[in-house]
Symmetry: C2
Subunit: 442 residues, 2 copies
């Protein structure tokens, strides 16, 4: 099946799930500080899914799977600045459109069509308020949830480049003075493959800050460095990988012990992931494994099941074990929880579980991340310790032996297959000794 | 003078130029594909100028130079994801605010205040339509046009890191296979200093595409690589540097000849830049120098003055010789031509001159770029040749000897000083032999 055949197939799958016409807008470059200085443009994911390329300022009209393209030809003289750009008819042929018109021809098509709200739609159009919006969103989720071979190939590319970035980051660490220098080494691999980052990289010695946006800290020999960095393929598909490694190239004893606990949870979830398994159960499995490991280390006291029932594990693992992966690193999160939470399900209020982004049974073709972690978040732990509430469950004194561990996360990307799963990021090692070797440059 | 004193001084300078209250919005992170996945946030430049740091979702109210800050405290629980963030009062002290309130307290302040339209202001506020908008914009231009020592220090940092990026790009070229790999080596230097790019890098063997956004071409030994890459300092100040170098490390004879022509124009403009000189005259000087050089090479026929009068030079140098530089790489271009064009001046209609972004007399404290170039834009040249209109002025056959030159540009950043100018980017060589040495790794 050619890439174009796959795109046509996606359009027909959407048409089978939603029986009305659809209009989707691609988005447009956003100004950074003045109109001519824009952020890197990346089309809306729903548009990308059906069109396969990041056309700016374009709309598509889909009717029974047939695509009509709306885009303006480049203005006269634009080639001086941007080089020769394809004309509308050329684009239409490349993407298998049955017709193509300038954008000004779009409005009549909007009246009867459903659409999805897109962040930078230039003006609020009638189709935004369509009664069909929710049904279209559901149909889109059903269509995008199961990845075809083209999607899998793109995600494989993103995974491969991301793995190379992580290897480069490990190799660069011992000579680096700051987080920023390791980040630079990692993103240079992604840029060098002419790809972009699927999300803002996390490269930090303060791994307990879950979405740490800073890179200014100096590296010191005793630190663990947590790097959550993923590439996006040319057609927009994401990878999402986290590794945690010692700046010195050698985990200390306590660091190695906690790394082993997180890795055991990671491995257990991957071993258990297959079609039919509830993703929520993988989360629970991770919680249980972490609790067991922390009991074994003497950090927690009691039975793992009881500790998880009491939510004690969330003191160290407050987030969910992962999320959908696809064109978006949190796939289809622009639709809120519609993709992550199956029909009739909604997020729990309970701390920890409220951050679980996915609650569906796994099925062939779905892609998810598995990313358990251990964190020492001062605000959480101080509050818990001062409350006295967990004194029977946490050995606070023993915990102090592990004070050189701020955050450890190990994250891989899984494609669910008929008989289990395929780890798209499997070639990047997780074993402690191998990680140490890579950092040491062996 | 401390940085804070300088910020306070800027506020008073603005107040002296504009006598009414002012409200400015900082902007907010923009969604890339879903709300939690945002582009790198960088506050609006007017806000940055007066506040000195990239606060997101903040507004300032200025009255007689006194600043009141409006920003919400981080929501409860945000520290789990983003780490400890400063509270409103702490920020207010750091920036010298006389008071600080949550955003919801802002509306009453808007009624009497002028503001500037900012790309991502969350909603259209009454102040946008204020009669005072144009006067505020003019006052802001007058204030920001002349760089104080803090601004100069920031631009010096941006220039220094950008020069290092260019050296890294030259050093990486011979081992690189693609434009993307050279770009990666250059941007890695910027990221490694924990800075960002001031604009989308141009790193291309198709230098004739003036704002070439592609990096996928393979490098071949006979190519010239044009790199227009600049860093932005932590407080948001830009550098803007272009160098052109041979992929092989050695300019061919024709390439060296044309490089010398562009360099002569570049050097002449820098030598001539001083307070009181019209920037438009520097543009004309560049045009004249280029025409002279092309006559010497036998590409153009006739007298340089006549050729420039007939606009023949624009066949090879269609753009302006540079622009204002400051917090924006085209400083204050969000205000259109208000900053670039002095009172009573407006862009010419004439091809070439219509792309000149700056027409003011130079004055102490202004920063500008000097960036002459030579390009062979197929569409321009084919049209000219086919028209027969330039057959007495262009030796088309001789031009073919130079067909390995697609684009050459040499760009430096100048600060105008009392007795002339200071080239902020002077430590990055322009001499052909030195460039060759750097590419060859000597």
């Amino acid at each position: 099946m050619t890439p174009l055949d796959t795109l046509v197939n996606r359009r027909h799958r959407l048409a089978a799930a939603f029986h009305r016409p659809v209009v989707l807008w691609s988005g447009q470059p956003l100004a950074r500080n003045f109109p001519a200085n824009t952020y890197y443009f990346r089309a809306n994911s729903h548009f990308l899914y059906l069109v396969g390329r990041s056309l700016a300022r374009a709309a598509i009209y889909l009717n029974q799977g047939q695509l009509t393209l709306f885009i303006d030809d480049p203005p006269a003289g634009a080639d001086l600045w941007h080089g020769p750009e394809p004309q509308r008819q050329e684009l239409a042929e490349a993407i298998g459109a049955i017709a193509a018109y300038p954008l000004k021809a779009l409005p009549p098509y909007l009246a009867e069509a459903a659409t999805l709200p897109i962040q930078d739609w230039p003006e609020r159009l009638p189709a935004h308020d369509s009664q069909w919006h929710q049904q279209l969103a559901l149909a889109m989720v059903e269509t995008r949830l199961y990845h075809d071979s083209l999607a899998q190939a793109e995600m494989t590319i993103a995974a491969r480049v991301s793995m190379a970035a992580h290897r480069a980051g490990m190799a660069a660490t011992r000579a680096a003075q700051t987080e920023a220098q390791v980040r630079a080494a990692m993103e240079a691999v992604i840029l060098g493959h002419n790809l972009s980052c699927a999300y803002n990289s996390i490269v930090t010695i303060q791994g307990e800050v879950l979405h740490n946006p800073h890179y200014h800290h100096a590296l010191t020999a005793g630190d663990l460095l947590l790097a959550d960095v993923g590439a996006e393929s040319g057609a927009g598909w994401a990878a999402d990988i986290t590794r945690t490694w010692p700046v010195s190239g050698r985990f200390s004893g306590p660091q190695a012990d906690l790394y082993a606990v997180v890795l055991a949870a990671h491995d257990a979830c991957i071993a258990a992931a297959r079609p039919g398994v509830e993703y929520r159960h993988l989360h629970q499995l991770a919680c249980h494994q972490l609790a067991c490991g922390l009991v074994d280390l003497g950090i927690l006291k009691g039975k793992a099941d009881d500790l998880v029932d009491r939510n004690v594990h969330t003191l160290f693992f407050p987030h969910g074990v992962g999320h959908l992966l696809g064109l978006d690193v949190h796939d289809m999160e622009d639709l809120g929880d519609l993709a992550g939470y199956g029909p009739g399900r909604r997020r729990a209020d309970r701390f920890g579980l409220c951050f679980l982004r996915l609650d569906r049974p796994l099925a062939e073709g779905m892609a998810v991340t598995i990313e358990p972690g251990f964190y020492q978040v001062a605000a959480l732990l101080d509050r818990a310790r001062q409350s006295g509430q967990y004194d029977d469950a946490v050995n606070w004194q023993r915990l102090e032996d592990f004070d050189t561990v701020r955050g450890i996360r190990i994250e891989d990307d899984l494609l669910i297959t008929a008989d289990g799963n395929q780890v798209l990021t499997a070639e990047l090692p997780t074993a402690r000794a191998t990680i140490e070797d890579l950092v040491q440059g062996h």
